[in-house]
């Protein structure tokens, strides 16, 4: 009868691995300046998914030890679940597009959805490595096993977090406040033409008095490839509007000659430091990043 139940060693292994894996997910599930997932239900969904992911990672080792190789294939099921999370997040953010101050844009949404998927792998990988460490060590004092497992989990969390951390606009460009000029119904920022939508007196007066603007200067010429991308500029505009609110109007415009990018709006909260910070901390979208080293690779002998 007792053989049907898990041994104490396996229970400790699974429990430690599940807790470590879930904690790894919790560490990267934060309400940051981008405000996602800022909703209590969002937290709950991701915590529950993390527990399941961690559980799958934890039971893989005991399953292998009992020669239950078929059981390990359920990991493929987990991957399918995580892909569903990406889809769910993408659909959810797309549904919200029309209610935001400005569009996130499909490129940004895709990036956010990918991040959510990858962070579930955190829980799976960390809990798997924790379980593996405990099993390999298999010391007679149970607490030694637990502490070793937790340390292995913490190290793998740190490495994964470091590995998955993306760059931001602030890493490749300088952002400075700029002067808003309204000439008739046209809006200029440091002599860069932005829009002629200010046809009414109210609009031009409001922009003159309350509008703020910043210019992004790429540090290298090739960074323009990233910064000029429409999705990237839209993401920066979204972050600023989300951080400060929009009373009326928000524009982004690029200057073809020098590669400068303008972000300007009439905010609800006029805080220039927050404005610059929001632009600088906008993540560089994965789909617009260009790696010079990869582009120079010559692996198959092409001349």
């Amino acid at each position: 009868m007792n053989t049907e139940f898990l041994s104490q060693q396996n229970i400790v292994l699974i429990t430690t691995a599940v807790i470590t894996g879930t904690s790894a997910r919790l560490l990267v599930l934060k309400q940051d300046y981008r405000q996602y997932p800022s909703y209590p239900n969002g937290y709950l969904i991701h915590i529950v998914t993390a527990i399941i992911a961690a559980f799958l990672g934890a039971v893989a080792i005991p399953a292998l030890l009992t020669k239950n190789f078929v059981a390990v294939t359920f990991l493929s099921l987990a991957i399918q679940q995580f892909r569903d999370i990406r889809k769910m997040e993408r659909d959810s953010l797309k549904d919200l597009e029309n209610t935001e101050y400005t569009y996130r844009g499909n490129a940004y949404i895709d990036g956010i959805a990918k991040t959510f998927e990858s962070r579930n792998y955190f829980a799976l990988v960390v809990s798997f490595l924790t379980a593996l460490t405990i099993q390999l060590l298999n010391y007679k004092i149970i607490w030694v096993n637990v502490v070793s497992g937790v340390i292995a989990g913490a190290i793998s969390t740190y490495l994964l977090k470091r590995f998955s951390k993306g760059k931001t606009i602030g890493d490749i460009a300088d952002v400075e406040m700029a002067e808003v000029q309204v000439k008739g119904s046209e809006l200029y920022v440091n002599d860069i033409y932005v829009s002629n939508l200010l046809g009414s007196e109210n609009a031009s007066k409001m922009y003159q008095e309350e509008g703020i603007a910043a210019i992004i200067y790429p540090r290298e010429e090739h960074f323009r490839i990233t910064l000029d991308n429409f999705g990237q500029r839209q993401a920066a505009l979204f972050e600023t509007t989300r951080a400060m609110g929009v009373k009326r109007y928000s524009f982004t415009r690029k200057d073809y000659k020098q590669g400068r990018v303008v972000i300007t709006l009439v905010p609800i909260i006029k805080d220039t430091d927050a404005f610059i910070e929001a632009i600088k901390k906008t993540p560089l979208l994965e789909n617009v990043k260009k790696s010079h080293s990869v582009m120079e690779t010559n692996l198959i002998g092409r001349e």
Binding site: S185, V194, N196, L197, G199, S200, F230, L237, F251, R253
Partner: protein, 68 residues
């Protein structure tokens, strides 16, 4: 801001307010003839307010009410 020039535009011209009847050639947008500049400005502003749209003053003096 609207999309790039090469992308599908997502703006709509809702009204065109002019003082020159020769410029009214037709089209989807409502074209209105104003008597003077003051009336032209007020019509543009009122339509923009009602439709929650923006006004553009063209260099020729005409107004367009557009939604971006």
């Amino acid at each position: 801001m609207g999309r790039e020039a090469t992308m599908k535009p997502d703006y709509e011209i809702l009204a065109y307010i002019t003082m020159n009847s020769k410029r009214v050639l037709g089209g989807k947008a409502q074209a209105l003839l104003a008597k003077n500049e003051e009336e032209q400005r007020i019509i543009a502003q009122d339509i923009a307010k009602a439709l929650k749209a923006d006004t553009v003053k063209l260099k020729c003096g005409d107004y367009m009410v557009i939604r971006v």
